[in-house]
């Protein structure tokens, strides 16, 4: 048994898994959630009895049919796509380890490509709001220890990061919150009743489109000290909850990106800055992909901006907070994401009609691998290969290799692709 293994199921990166290994097979995992188990035992998310198909050999698609080929032949096929591309895009990366993200950034630079994080629509407005209003950052360690007020906004942690509520925010017992949930006030705002309603009091269910009104109501009460012109049901309860806090955190889920994300982040950031003038309060995006935060950290560090860098722009490097216009892309490299899962049928069809070639790196078969010209199967980070990942509060952890595989790690495949374009062997 290997103890204290890190789970790459989501951005929580829980570090308390005990994994039993027999030969090159994981046979048992303790302390894992239903989401995390799919990484260790190759099952579908939340359906631990349904197998997920593992990719075992590189594939190339000819006349609509996929054929297994050698790694070198796959590199050659991919090389043709790389060399012919004029407006290429490297997409995804939020489910890659940091070494792979660094390799992808080097590749994008050499390929003169745009690099787009898979959750840019969610995270870019967050960073824009910070740039405008400032930042009070608290790691999960301190939230667990001290926070007595938690608000989930457009977030369902039970689905996006299941053990978050147990380890950090709701039921966890910290230094000054030794009675767990009894020490905290927990609230949620959502447009659907979710599992969080069972432990969130109040659970404010609003109609779609009411988010901004609710936020404006909170701001009017708390910041301006006025009655809002139109009050959404639940406003007063939230005002009471927030004003009674002695240490709080607002966890924001991807739900906000389906509405007016920019305005919502803006309003939340303004509210949190005001709350911070009284007591410590944090605004926290609930990243569900296991290394989303690592990617933004890398982009900030290496390009000076958290937005999508475009190395092919005529004016040199430019960074974009808005998602790519798919009509501009003529070649795609997808890694650490299932792009077609998030695209509308029209967008998928448009890419197909324009015959945009797609290279995919993935450990499992998914919707995107099913449409790709070249597929590279890769080793699973944190199980079959070592890596580094950043927890959702920006703290890095080392992912271990638990079992062996003949498959290459994704950072090596990316470095090999970079070499085709004349790059170094990575490192």
């Amino acid at each position: 048994m290997i103890e204290s293994v890190i789970c790459t199921g989501c951005g929580c990166l829980c570090d308390d898994l005990d994994v039993t290994v027999e030969g090159d097979r994981v046979i048992e995992v303790a302390n894992v959630c239903l989401w995390g188990v799919n990484k260790f035992i190759a099952t579908k998310k939340f359906h631990s009895k349904k197998d997920r198909r593992r990719l075992l050999a590189p594939q190339v698609r000819r006349k609509g049919r996929a054929f297994d080929i050698s790694y070198d032949a796959a590199l050659e096929e991919a090389g043709k796509i790389l060399i012919q591309a004029r407006r290429p895009l490297v997409y995804g990366l939020t489910n890659n380890g940091s070494w792979a993200q660094e390799a992808a950034l080097r590749l994008a630079r050499r390929w003169q490509a745009r690099l787009e994080p898979g959750d840019l629509a969610f995270m870019a407005p967050y960073y824009e709001a910070l740039a405008r209003h400032g930042l009070y950052w608290t790691p999960l360690e301190e939230i667990r220890d001290e926070a007595d007020t938690i608000l989930f906004w457009g977030a369902n942690p039970i689905h996006s990061c299941p053990r978050h509520v147990v380890r950090y925010s709701v039921f966890s017992r910290g230094r000054f919150t030794e009675r767990g949930a009894e020490e905290r006030q927990i609230a949620a705002v959502d447009i659907y009743p979710t599992e969080t309603a069972k432990f969130c009091k109040p659970f404010i269910q609003i109609d779609p489109g009411q988010e901004l009104e609710l936020l404006q109501g909170l701001a009017a009460h708390l910041i301006e000290g006025q009655e809002p012109p139109k009050r959404v049901k639940g406003t007063k309860k939230l005002v009471k909850l927030l004003s009674e806090a002695s240490f709080g955190a607002i966890f924001v889920g991807r739900g906000v990106s389906y509405g007016p994300a920019r305005k919502l982040w803006e309003g939340l950031a303004r509210l949190v800055v005001w709350l911070n003038t009284r007591v410590p309060f944090s605004l926290f995006p609930l990243a569900s992909d296991f290394n989303s935060v690592g990617l933004y950290h890398l982009l900030l560090r290496e390009t000076g901006s958290p937005y999508a860098p475009d190395f092919g722009a005529a004016s040199g490097l430019s960074s974009h907070p808005t998602p790519v216009d798919w009509r501009e892309v003529d070649a795609l490299l997808v890694t650490g994401a299932d792009l077609f899962w998030f695209m509308s049928e029209d967008q998928v069809q448009a890419l197909k009609e324009r015959r945009v070639p797609i290279i995919v790196l993935s450990p499992f078969a998914n919707r995107t691998t099913a449409k790709a010209q070249v597929v590279f199967p890769v080793a699973l980070s944190g199980i079959e290969t070592e890596e580094v990942a950043y927890r959702m509060d920006g703290l890095p952890v080392e992912l271990q290799k638990l079992i062996s595989t003949p498959l290459r790690p994704d950072h090596q495949v990316l470095a090999d692709l970079e070499q085709i374009l004349g790059g170094s062997t990575g490192g």
């Binding site: 204290s4 910070l130 950052w137 920006g394």
Partner: protein, 458 residues
């Protein structure tokens, strides 16, 4: 590779060299006795030859610092490494590594090219309050601290808040005031047989320290909020204590929109990455530097917001040239001008001693060949020190040329992170001390493949 640095003006306060013309020999990565044959001669005629600079408090990898790039207030790691090299520095010491941000700090340090790095383990005394109260347990406290230093790969210990204070009223009985705590810390420092670094604060400066020589006060500048505190800091230095300056720029904040940028690392006060600049405190830090005549004061900046590395050269000139002070501060603040020996002591000799890097900061045989060579201003020149000391002509790191004729020629030179190998074991209550961490203990420790190359020092 065997090198001869020929006919340079050698400066090394540790050996009493104050510009004597002579040769230095390098074999491999060390300075050696004169060699009969060499592979390369570097002509240093008319140039000053110094040991490589060491930044004792270079905030380059603090948890959350990356966020300053959102506002363009922090250069990229590549640029920071190049800036340090251009100044003639070969080592940077990060002040804020905590138990759970150790991996973060080391990832950031490994991204910094050219210069070697190290970090201080910033202890939160709140974690230790129970044991600090019991004098009989101080040995165990020290043992656990030494264990943590090695496991987090830090080089020394730093106390950022020399008190224990809880925000929660019901824990008030566990608070420990600074006046009581400094006694305990003095005992701890004596046990570990080296000075303990305390981040300076007005509160601390008002407090007479029981054993000044047992303490190093870090970043004095921001703590000098009142005129009387300058005298308190001088007293500390004159009684055998050491300190670093924490200089701040008097201007350059006009474009900053005055936003809060604060990181909560579990201390009583959050770490403010963009503190509101105080021109008074900044001036007092410089006055202190000009008043103090001894060798116990090291150079440091107050942080990347108030003292970016790109401004170090200008800060050097405030120390060495009254006219630079007149230009930047509107007053000369007296006519004191640091000699080269004074400046070398505060940027090389003393930082190396304080970090325990025995083979750095001097030019003795056996020292590592980290050499910074600068143009020597002519005596008749109106000396522009920021031009001379801020621009290294040749930089050797471990005997390898990094800068040649002002050009960076070896940006990928090997670099390492230095940490203290204490060999200490954890005592049984370490688990209790760390019980509130969300990480399992073994996942807090820093392993080989997280950063770059590691060098353990005893």
């Amino acid at each position: 590779m065997r090198l001869k640095i020929a006919q340079g003006h050698l400066y090394d306060p540790a050996q009493g060299w104050d510009g004597e013309v002579g040769d230095l020999y390098v074999e491999g990565e060390r300075l050696v006795a004169p060699l009969a044959e060499v592979d390369l001669v570097i002509d240093a005629q008319g140039q000053m030859v110094l040991a490589g600079g060491i930044d004792l408090r270079g905030q380059v990898a603090t948890y959350g610092l990356n966020m300053l790039r959102l506002w363009g207030r922090l250069p990229s790691p590549q640029q920071i490494g190049e800036l340090y090299a251009g100044l003639g520095y070969t080592h940077v010491h990060e002040p804020f590594l905590t138990l759970y941000t150790a991996k973060y700090v080391h990832r950031e340090l490994s991204a910094l090219p050219i210069v070697d790095t190290s970090a201080s383990l910033a202890l939160n005394l709140r974690d230790l309050d129970k044991w600090l109260r019991a004098p009989e347990q101080l040995g165990e406290v020290e043992q656990n601290i030494q264990f943590l230093v090695e496991q987090t790969r830090a080089l020394n210990v730093r106390i950022t808040e020399p008190y224990v204070r809880f925000r929660q009223d019901y824990y008030a009985h566990r608070n420990i005031a600074t006046e009581n705590l400094v006694e305990i810390l003095a005992s701890l420092a004596q046990r570990q047989n080296c000075p303990l670094t305390l981040e300076a604060s007005p509160e601390l400066l008002r407090q007479p320290l029981p054993e000044p020589a047992a303490f190093h006060l870090a970043a004095l500048g921001p703590a000098l909020t009142e005129v009387e505190l300058v005298q308190a800091a001088l007293n500390h230095l004159e009684q055998g204590g050491t300190a670093d300056l924490g200089l701040m720029q008097p201007s350059g904040y006009e474009s900053w929109p005055n936003l809060p940028v604060q990181i909560n690392m579990g201390f009583f006060h959050p770490l403010d990455l963009c503190p509101r600049p105080s021109k008074g405190a900044a001036a007092r830090a410089l006055e202190l530097a000009l008043q103090y005549q001894g060798a116990n004061l090291a150079f440091s900046g107050a942080g990347p917001f108030q003292a970016p590395v790109s401004g170090y050269a200008r800060m050097f000139s405030w120390l060495t040239d009254p006219r630079a002070r007149l230009q930047d501060w509107g007053t000369e603040l007296g006519d004191r001008a640091y000699s080269l020996a004074d400046w070398i002591n505060m940027t090389r000799t003393l930082p190396a001693r304080l970090l325990g890097l025995k083979d750095r900061g001097h030019l003795s045989v056996g020292a590592r060949a980290d050499l910074a060579i600068y143009n020597l201003p002519k005596i008749t020149d109106k000396i522009n020190w920021s031009k001379h000391l801020g621009r290294c002509r040749t930089l050797l790191k471990a005997g390898t040329r990094v800068i040649d004729n002002f050009n960076l020629i070896n940006p990928e030179i090997a670099k390492a992170t230095y940490y203290l190998q204490t060999g200490s074991e954890a005592s049984p209550w370490l688990g209790e001390m760390c019980q509130y961490r969300s990480f399992r203990l073994e996942n807090l420790w820093v392993h080989d493949h997280l950063g770059g190359d590691w060098v353990g020092v005893q």
